[in-house]
């Protein structure tokens, strides 16, 4: 009997630990979004560096200074920003869905928002809690 209880405890503890340790992020939809965003990053990186595009506090990106983009590239910058934001929204939604908790989407977005900013490179513009743009 004692052994049974111990075994049960261990099983449950392991299950709980696992449930807390990871979110499911390995689904075809999430991987596809990740890939698209990774490829787009090459296009966005110079805009981050020039300050034309900033990392917003709500988990997206913003064309904050269109004048910093040479005129011929402006349309491309605009559409890259729009596509990036659409993918990010889908990503947050997909992660929530993959974990069976669609209601987590907002909190996942908030978590990502902080981490995007945290991991932004020096020189990039990020939005602080008050909505102001600061150069990292």
């Amino acid at each position: 009997m004692k052994r049974f209880i111990v075994a049960m405890l261990l099983t449950l503890a392991a299950g709980l630990a696992q449930a807390q340790a990871n979110l499911e992020i390995n689904t075809p939809a999430i991987n596809a979004l990740k890939k698209a965003m990774g490829e787009r990053h090459n296009q966005l990186a110079p805009f981050y560096a020039s300050g034309a595009v900033g990392i917003s506090r709500d988990g997206g990106v913003v064309l904050r200074d269109a004048n910093a983009v040479p005129l011929p590239q402006r349309a491309a910058a605009n559409s890259a920003v729009a596509a990036e934001n659409a993918d990010r929204t889908s990503l947050y939604k997909e992660i929530a869905r993959a974990n069976g908790k669609p209601e987590w989407e907002g909190e996942i977005r908030n978590t990502f928002a902080q981490r995007w900013i945290e991991k932004a490179q020096p020189g990039w513009y990020v939005q602080n809690a008050q909505g102001q743009w600061v150069r990292k």
Binding site: I5, L16, A19, Q20, G38, N42, Q121
Partner: protein
């Protein structure tokens, strides 16, 4: 009301675990989300694991190539 220890455990343990499960379901797993976010962001920003695929530093940025203009 003289419950032996094993019998008490039989009641208490599942009850405890059940409440833990409920907690997990209700509360957002912030630490796990942060870890997941970091993994994805590292890949998108190409901070880790993608080093080998990166062109050597000093090369012209890939992005200067303008997309083919539509006629």
């Amino acid at each position: 009301m003289n419950l032996s220890t094993p019998a008490l455990m039989l009641i208490a343990v599942p009850a405890l675990c059940l409440s833990a499960c409920v907690t997990i379901n209700i509360y957002f797993p912030a630490a796990a989300a942060e870890k997941a976010a970091d993994r994805i962001i590292d890949e998108v920003y190409q901070l880790k694991g993608a080093e080998a695929a990166k062109p050597p530093a000093g090369q012209a940025p890939v992005t200067d190539a303008k997309p083919a203009e539509k006629k």
